[in-house]
């Protein structure tokens, strides 16, 4: 193994997720929703990789398919060199000790009938046989890490605010000490002032526990702040990928450019010019031919309608899937 590939914790190759559309009495399959189409990327150890895009672009499906919460239709996911798609259900369940998921909505992802103690000790009971004292010690230790106190162990989710609930979700995911976590929009259900608290907590824990993180979000400011690398998704494909700062400073793909320019600025005296995209995202059950973005792109040419552009390296560690990337 070379030095570089040793550093890679997760390698996603040609991941594909299609959902069948069934119609009629016999539930005949009449088509497929192309949720994720040939997505490849890799995540290094201790790296935060962000997947960013608008709703329906397949970013959450990609996250779920990596952990096989949704079975991928094609492609491979290598974790620590092991092909996850070749594992049985039971083997995969054991693997999840090391790979966890943080859900978007803490209001619905915590069981309302379990108190904090049950919520936090359950993952440990499933994955480890621990003596009671150690179980207690680990739960209390985790509570401290997320800034809560042991006297809150007996409380139920409805007794906490949204921010505290998300802290509990994070604790539940991290209590087995995974090396890899998928966080699916962990702060988008929270208010601005609470969002910052949770983001700080996640960054602290990521450093402290040396986590690799896939951070899924539609919020471009948050992604810029938290991630080292970013993949911009549109209609199931990665359009642009690279070091976060590089992609934000020199966006090469017309979609990334439009996306970045659409973020409202906080300075009323300096109104930036928006690139306002026409129309809507095409139907993923009938994706357009060629480049998925060509129906809304201002730089579309005949080639774009026919041939789907591959991700190509346009600068060191900066990839874009556009026939015109790099042109003036």
């Amino acid at each position: 193994m070379s030095e570089k590939s040793k550093d890679i914790l997760l390698d996603v190759r040609h991941l594909q997720v299609y959902f069948p559309i069934r119609r009629g009495l016999m539930k005949k399959i009449v088509g497929h929703v192309h949720a994720v189409e040939d997505v490849s990327f890799s995540v290094r150890r201790k790296e935060v990789f962000a997947l960013v895009g608008e709703s329906g672009c397949g970013k959450s499906t990609t996250g779920s398919a990596i952990l096989r919460l949704i079975e991928p239709t094609g492609g491979q996911v290598y974790f620590n060199g092991d092909d996850l798609s070749a594992l049985s259900e039971e083997e995969m369940r054991l693997k999840r000790r090391d790979m966890q998921f943080i859900f978007q909505n803490p209001y619905s992802s915590l069981n309302p009938r379990m108190n904090v103690w049950k919520l936090l000790s359950e993952p440990l009971k499933v994955h480890f046989q621990l003596p009671p004292e150690e179980l207690r010690a680990r739960v209390e230790n985790m509570l401290q890490l997320i800034g809560m106190t042991p006297d809150q162990l007996e409380r139920y989710p409805h007794q906490f605010s949204g921010g505290q609930k998300q802290r509990i979700s994070i604790a539940r995911a991290l209590i087995t000490h995974p090396s890899f976590v998928v966080a699916d929009e962990p702060v988008s259900a929270l208010d601005v002032s609470i969002q910052a608290q949770i983001l700080n907590l996640m960054m602290e824990l990521q450093q402290e526990m040396e986590l690799s993180l896939i951070f899924i979000s539609h919020d471009l400011n948050v992604v810029r702040h938290i991630s080292n690398s970013v993949g911009v998704m549109y209609l199931g494909s990665i359009m642009e990928m690279g070091d976060t700062e590089e992609v934000y400073r020199h966006p090469a793909h017309p979609y990334t450019q439009a996306l970045l320019s659409a973020v409202p600025s906080h300075d009323p005296t300096h109104k930036q010019r928006h690139i306002v995209l026409e129309g809507d995202v095409p139907n993923p059950a009938a994706p357009p031919s060629g480049c998925p973005f060509h129906t809304r792109c201002g730089r579309c040419t005949g080639e774009c309608k026919e041939r789907k552009p591959e991700l190509k390296e346009i600068a060191p560690n900066h990839y874009a899937a556009c026939h015109h990337a790099g042109e003036a």
């Binding site: 609470i194 910052a196 700080n200 810029r224 702040h225 320019s261 659409a262 906080h266 009323p268 809507d280």
Partner: protein, 330 residues
Amino acid sequence: MENLLEIKNLKITTLRGKNTVRLLDKVDLNVKKKCSFGVVGESGCGKSITANAILGLLPYPLRVSEGSIRYDSKDGERELLRLNKKEMRQVRGQEISMIFQEPMTSLDPIFTVEMQMFEALSFHHPHMGKAEMRERALEMLRRVNIPRPEQTLSSYAHQLSGGQLQRIMIAIALINDPRLLLADEPTTALDVTIQAQILKLMNDLKEQNDTSIIMITHDLGVIAETCEEVAVFYAGQIVEQASVVELFSHTAHPYTLGLLRAVTSLGGESRKLYTIPGIVPPGGQWSQGCRFADRCEKCMDRCRREMPGLTEAAPGHLCRCFLHSGEVEA
């Protein structure tokens, strides 16, 4: 009347068991004609119930316990809180319209877009014919940039995307040429590229129709882009109010400063984000003094004892903070 809408001393309460709980406290708001007025705050601070109170849409057990809402209607000045149900229905849609946060749930799933647009029209124009209504509906859809308006008219809500639905909501809200549009988080459920389309559309329509807009949002970026005047709500009160440029360039209240720092430190040099400690105190748990005192970096003894008034920090710039009331030497 000089202003289009004047809210004075508005108080809203709810019942929790047998106790009356205050949700909104002595809010004064003036919206000028042809103005876009922003209301910004976090969840539970009272911004949405203020809008609902204007149109008499407060759900039981919420009610207006005090105050007045005067509106300069097409046929003279009216006190909206004194209207009966029938009079209020004449105001809704015709004088004041509202668009809601979730376009996916605000249209009725079992009626076509056409039927819902006709309903809004025929209610205020009972003698309008089918052909004329159809003409008007198509014109509105074209104005909100709906592609293929004829086809859209016969569609149901589930056949359309979120951005299209929000355009249709705007088209329905504007179909009777109201003079005031209440927009309650109109783009929160939408993606950024669609948000940019909708905000541009609302700005264009405001210019064309001389409609005033009250834009309710938690996103300071949306305010900076679209509004002329802003009021910042915190725990059922206005804590700061000024023109947009003034508010963003000479932010006075520690809460507004904190909100701005929390969002603008994103992408900044430091990895650590600025945070406001603690949470917004919910209704019923408000202290006697300044409601932001427990989370404020600059909290003084006095702040816990007395409530600061909304005073002028600079001409036209109101702020509820002892630091800016002119009484304290810093």
